[in-house]
């Protein structure tokens, strides 16, 4: 079965706190891709990152960082020094091998309070 689990339904933090959003995936494929999207209140899904299964290097982009661990089938997302503008629903998605369909988790709603 191919599946993405985002166990955290909702997280609330105060501005400037660090926060980690968890993503655990299931697939039997050895080649696959993982994505994170952000859905702000305006509704559109904003692409954040794409990672292939052969690249386990962690990635940092400004205050955002991603930790990919194949051994635990996890692709976690950390926001450092969170800001109110980070408030959104965040989706993790899996793109299995030889298909173009994305399999999404149920999303994590992040609320950052001033």
């Amino acid at each position: 079965a191919q599946k993405v689990t985002q166990a955290q339904t909702e997280i609330s933090v105060v501005e400037k706190e660090d926060v980690t959003l968890d993503c655990v995936y299931e697939t039997r494929d050895t080649t696959y891709y993982l994505f994170w999207y952000k859905q702000p209140p305006s509704g559109e899904l904003v692409f954040l990152i794409r990672r292939n299964s052969f690249d386990e290097q962690n990635e940092i982009s400004g205050r955002y960082s991603w930790n990919f661990q194949k051994s635990t089938s996890s692709f976690n997302f950390t926001i450092t020094a969170s800001q109110v503008v980070d408030s959104a629903v965040y989706f993790c998605a899996l793109n299995p091998y030889n298909t173009d369909k994305l399999i999404f988790g149920t999303g994590t709603r992040l609320q950052v309070f001033p």
Binding site: G43, L45, F47, A93, D100, K101, I103, F104, G107
Partner: protein
Amino acid sequence: EAGVTQFPSHSVIEKGQTVTLRCDPISGHDNLYWYRRVMGKEIKFLLHFVKESKQDESGMPNNRFLAERTGGTYSTLKVQPAELEDSGVYFCASSQDERGGADTQYFGPGTRLTVL
């Protein structure tokens, strides 16, 4: 460059009526996808066009849903007749072929459909 656009943003219809959703992909993107999110559940794949051809329609729930992409530009998704369980947010995405792996799909703002 304009992103993926969808029309309408909201639609409220009664059970049994017909609704047509439209998606305009990013210019030059051959791949167009439809997804749906029902009541706080995960976003689920419906189908994938490559230009005007249906590449994968394995996610279409039943034959009340009809998707078209005439001319390989914009796409429409028609629901006829609509049922209560069709309520949700319908997302469209587009991508261009990226050599060496999965394409990055860029999403529109979605159409919120409410069936009463």
